[in-house]
């Protein structure tokens, strides 16, 4: 890689400030939730079901209890009704799935928690958990995946998208593409494991848990335990990666809370890497069907995208990516449909760009197939179908810079040097493939609040229950307050990740920065108004105004309401219900960040290893508050995209739906050697409509489209069109 590691700022971009908590992290001072030391902590270890769907006949806990240091073993027989059945987020509740923790003898899926040991040490808890003997009656033929005979398909009518007359237009289409695609089950595997510590002081509970939404944990736990929410505090100061897996309340938290209450001492659980595969959600496998019709000059006349997504029996969960892939390109006749396929598996959840990664793979590969059929450059195909008006409802985009991204990325990549014929670019024994695809992600925001305090000594403090997942939330919060008030950045401090702070949106859907920055701006406006200090007043004037006020400090709460949310919805954020809204869900407009992905890969002519040699992405996402942390997010996304196309795949045993590669040795992600030259370019874009902050968010868009760019490059290298992910060498032998 040449040039600076990150952009140095530009139009509508802030300063590339270093991470606020960077030093604490690299020196080990940063305390993640499992690092918090509480006196007299007892250690918990889960025991997960080793059968698929079935029934527990009984436990033999003799050997487990005999392990020195074991204190308590929780099973459905001992938990009783200590935990209440509450609705999952998909029914307007808080939990990530509908299974009641240790709720009954019924086992819904392999990997379901069926017991939890509490012991004096982690080692004793783990040894005892391994020694639990369970007698079970397995279901004779559990439905293990999306193709299993016993899985139930259900069409989700509310997710249907329709414009014009698809059938007629497709039938009349001069050029047609009809192709089916599949994407595999994948797991986020954030580096930090799923940990929970609970400590009771009287009737007050404190939870230390890595979370993307401390208030879903707080309010969900209050419902589950029948405890007033005011008595629960959830702290999540640092999160070691989340990617959707730490978004909502999982079964483990209530178990740790009741174990701590039973023992009258703190209890700590750190689920193992393997347990993490079913302790939280994951990206479910999909099947997809895309049909395109186009004129000979490449104009789309019909577009159909239908998806089937695996879900659990307990929860109907769908990422519904067709609602977006049908709104990206000009086309008069559109049909989008989504179906769920319920099987005997754990409930899927959100994984970085949950709908966009699988559906984007299918649509952007289909477009490449169309470009090939037309003999047209794939970049030009996107240009011909570019639009500033969303094709289904005719709504305007708040801003859309797709082709600017393509042009910047194509020029940087050197796309004009491409020899279009498949198999025509070679270097020695290596076939070279170039491919590209669009990236897109809905710009979303949720209701959020932030408190800003300006003190007489000229320092400022920003507080909001947003989350530092490693993405740079802390730095961003400090930067926005510094910029809005005119206080030097080094004089701003930040508190976040604590349910006692003003509530913020769930840090998902790339909505965190847009939402919290807007709230901080409102608070800062209020402070300046109260002090009578105009915008852009010098720092000295600001300090003088605080001094003149006679107050020790001036403090204001900013509450930002997301576009599309009603004023009546604002109090919901104080009840743990601040969810992102945007993209195609608004009545008056659509909001998207856009990007373009280009990939060069090489494939050995005999042994068929596929190696990405370079990747260039260009992204326009409105205002960029911190180019350094944004660039890092985009790079991480692009690397994950390479993994999603070539490496990541959760293996499912067909007998019981066991995940047979539930560890980081066998669940492959790219290593350093897989990533050579990679460039993420921030394309300047200004969007005054999207939200107060003008921010669209960059948390997820970097991963979108990479898989299609890779599959398109594989086609270019070999002439083989591969429609099933991951693409592995055996598919090319």
């Amino acid at each position: 890689m040449t040039g600076p590691l990150f952009p140095q700022g530009g139009p509508n971009m802030g300063q590339p400030a270093p991470r606020y908590e960077g030093r604490a992290k690299v020196t080990g001072e940063a305390r993640y939730p499992s690092d918090v030391r509480l006196p007299r902590t007892a250690h918990a270890c889960l025991h997960l079901s080793r059968i698929g769907r079935g029934t527990i006949r009984g436990f033999d806990l003799t050997a487990a209890r005999a392990v020195h240091g074991v204190i308590d073993i929780l099973t459905h027989e001992t938990v009783g009704d200590a935990i209440r059945q509450t609705p999952a987020i998909y029914q307007g509740g808080y939990t990530s799935d509908s299974l009641l923790p240790l709720g009954s003898a019924e086992i819904a899926h392999w990997g379901q928690p069926i017991a939890m040991v509490v012991a004096e040490t982690y080692e004793a808890a783990r040894e005892a958990a391994q020694r639990i003997v369970v007698t079970t009656a397995p279901h004779p033929s559990p439905a293990v995946d999306i193709n299993a005979p016993g899985a139930e398909t259900r069409a989700l009518e509310p997710m249907m998208v329709q414009a014009g007359d698809f059938d007629a237009a497709y039938a009349a289409g001069p050029i047609r593409i009809d192709a089916r695609y599949t994407t595999p089950a994948q797991h986020q595997n954030p580096m930090e494991l799923f940990a929970t510590q609970c400590v009771w002081e009287g009737d007050r509970l404190t939870v230390h848990e890595p979370s993307q939404y401390v208030n879903s944990v707080k309010f969900g736990l209050a419902e589950q335990l029948g405890v007033p929410a005011d008595n629960i505090r959830v702290i999540s100061t640092h999160v070691g990666g989340a990617f959707g897996a730490k978004g909502f309340l999982t079964q483990r938290t209530a178990l740790v809370a009741i174990a701590a209450r039973r023992l009258g001492r703190p209890v700590k659980l750190v689920a193992t890497r393997e347990q993490g595969f079913t302790v939280s959600g994951y990206r479910a496998e999909t099947r997809q069907h895309v049909q395109l019709a186009a004129t000979r000059d490449g104009r789309l006349t019909a577009l159909r995208h239908e998806g089937w997504e695996l879900t659990s029996r307990a929860d109907t969960v769908a990422m519904g990516g067709a609602s977006m892939t049908t709104r990206l390109y000009a086309c008069p006749n559109i049909l989008g449909r989504v179906n769920t396929v319920a099987a005997d598996r754990s409930t899927p959840g959100f994984m970085r760009a949950p709908g966009e990664v699988p559906y984007g793979f299918a649509l952007e590969t289909a477009l490449d197939e169309l470009a090939d059929r037309l003999g047209m450059d794939p970049v030009e195909l996107r240009r011909v179908n570019d639009t500033q008006t969303e094709p289904v409802g005719g709504l305007p985009y708040t801003s859309r810079s797709l082709m600017r991204c393509f042009d910047v990325a194509a020029a940087t990549f050197g796309w004009s040097g491409r020899s279009p014929r498949p198999g025509s670019m070679r270097e020695g024994d290596w076939l070279i493939g170039w491919g590209c695809a669009s990236a897109y992600y809905p710009a979303q925001a949720g209701n959020s609040a932030a408190r800003v305090r300006l003190t007489a000594d000229g320092t400022a403090h920003v507080a909001s229950a947003g989350h530092e997942l490693g993405q740079g939330m802390t730095t961003m919060m400090a930067q926005v307050a510094a910029e809005e008030l005119g206080v030097p950045l080094e004089r701003v401090t930040v508190s976040l990740g604590d349910s006692d702070l003003p509530p913020a949106v769930v840090n998902g859907g790339s909505a965190g920065t847009a939402s919290v920055a807007s709230a901080i701006m409102i608070a800062c406006d209020a402070i300046r108004a109260r002090l009578g200090v105009p915008r852009d007043a010098p720092y000295a004037a600001l300090r003088a105004a605080v001094a003149a006020s006679g107050l020790a400090f001036v403090e204001e709460l900013g509450e930002a309401r997301a576009h599309g949310r009603s004023p009546e919805s604002l109090p919901d954020m104080y009840r743990g219900r601040a969810l992102p809204l945007g993209g195609v869900e608004l009545p008056d407009r659509v909001q998207f960040a856009m990007g373009a992905q280009f990939v060069e890969l090489r494939i050995h002519r005999w042994t068929r290893e596929i190696r990405v040699r370079r990747a260039v992405g260009a992204f326009a996402a409105g205002r960029i508050i911190n180019p350094r942390t944004s660039h890092s997010q985009l790079l991480g996304g692009m690397i994950w995209g390479i993994g999603s196309a070539l490496h990541e795949h959760t293996d499912i045993d067909q007998r019981n739906a066991a995940y047979t590669n539930a560890n980081l040795a066998d669940y492959l992600v790219p290593v350093h050697a897989d990533i050579s030259e990679i460039q993420a370019i921030l394309v300047s874009e200004e969007d005054r409509l999207v939200n107060q902050a003008g921010v669209k968010g960059v948390g997820e868009i970097g991963v979108v489209g990479v898989a299609a760019a890779i599959s398109n490059a594989v086609f270019h290298a070999t002439g083989r069109r591969l429609r099933d992910l991951p693409i592995k060498l055996e598919h090319l032998l």
Binding site: R50, H68, E123, R126, E127, Q130, D429, H604, W606, T607, R608, E609, R611, L646, H647, D651, I652, D653, Q654, R655, T660, N661, A665, D666, L668, P670, V671, H672, A673, D674, K728, L729, E730, L733
Partner: protein, 339 residues
């Protein structure tokens, strides 16, 4: 992980004596030697290995950690670290397949810890072996069956399998040793002996739990690799699902002695595709005395996999293994060897 007793004897004699004492009391004593720990600790955490006594051999590095590349043979102490051998200029120059097989294995962290002796004795990566919640594993529990036969078996073997076990031998270094006709020096309660490396690993047949011909309590102390006419024209080709830190899907250790384009002698061992380090004698025979062409390399590669038996998900390994061998042979033939 279950509780265990731990000792750290100060010499080879003391270690063998300690193990011998335990075995004299109970021939099936649940005792294990600990070298670099990269296999044993892993399996103990997974509750697969359950030794009650662990004899730590790390003190033996002083007497058995040598790397001696000589004109007639390469002598490697069993406690030399993988990384030390892989980086040794004499090994890289004169025994390239040895250095490459080690450099391409595992990760830098593991290569810095793992010993050579432990490396060749590493256990299979079969998911069903490594997860004791699968009752059926003839390696773990003789007579219990093989869960991998009806399971996810893309990574499993196509050569040397039996109806009792299809687990792949996962290592890389062993193929290099096999191709170069290495000899092992062993020590144990019954004294020292030598063993051709090719006699170390046992086919699973009906007894997959018996993986080697080591006697109870015996351990590897040294590897002796003879320098022959083909040693310097040798290489290790490893095909895998990512560029580093990953086991082979298929690999080939090859060594050639050429007279112009004519093969005077060939040595071939295959990895990633077989239940044990796999010497391809038939492929060697197919090459000997003939001009090495792309066609001949294919013929040899087909020969190497003539007896292959695919499972549900790994039939591709036959094609891939052939392609890897062919590529390795042509690449070895094209090496420029300094006089």
């Amino acid at each position: 992980m279950r509780s265990f007793q731990y000792s750290r004897p100060s010499s080879l004699t003391a270690a063998a004596g300690e193990m011998g004492g335990l075995l004299a009391q109970d021939p099936d004593a649940p005792a294990a030697y600990l070298a670099g720990g990269t296999t044993l600790l892993d399996l103990m955490k997974l509750d697969v290995a359950r030794p009650e006594r662990v004899i730590d051999l790390s003190a033996l590095r002083g007497e058995l950690g040598h790397v001696h590349p000589g004109a007639t043979e390469l002598r490697l102490g069993a406690f030399a670290r993988m990384a030390e051998v892989a980086a040794h200029p004499g090994v890289i120059a004169d025994y390239p397949v040895i250095a490459q097989s080690l450099a391409l294995a595992a990760s830098a962290q593991l290569r810095n810890m793992a010993s050579l002796g432990g490396n060749v004795l590493q256990r299979t990566r079969c998911s069903y072996f490594r997860d004791p919640s699968w009752a059926a594993c003839n390696k773990r529990t003789p007579g219990s069956g093989c869960a991998a036969l009806g399971g996810v078996n893309r990574a499993h073997a196509v050569l040397g399998t039996s109806e009792h076990c299809i687990a792949t031998y996962p290592g890389d270094f062993a193929q290099a040793l096999l191709a170069l006709d290495a000899t092992l020096v062993l020590a144990g309660p019954q004294g020292s002996r030598t063993l051709p490396f090719g006699s170390l690993h046992q086919l699973p047949a009906a007894t997959p739990h018996r993986e080697t011909t080591l006697l109870p309590g015996e351990l590897i102390t040294e590897f002796v690799i003879p320098a022959r006419a083909w040693t310097r024209r040798s290489l290790y080709l490893k095909v895998r699902d990512r560029e580093s830190y990953e086991f082979a899907v298929a690999s080939a250790a090859v060594a050639l002695d050429l007279d112009g384009d004519v093969v005077r002698e060939a040595r071939i061992a295959l990895g990633g595709v077989a239940t044990i380090p796999w010497r391809a004698h038939g492929a060697e025979d197919a090459l000997r005395g003939l001009t090495l062409t792309e066609t001949l390399a294919w013929t040899a590669a087909e020969n190497a996999f003539a007896a292959a038996r695919p499972q549900t998900h790994n039939a591709f390994k036959i094609d891939l293994g052939q392609a890897a061998l062919m590529r390795a042979l042509l690449q070895a033939a094209s090496l420029e060897i300094r006089p």
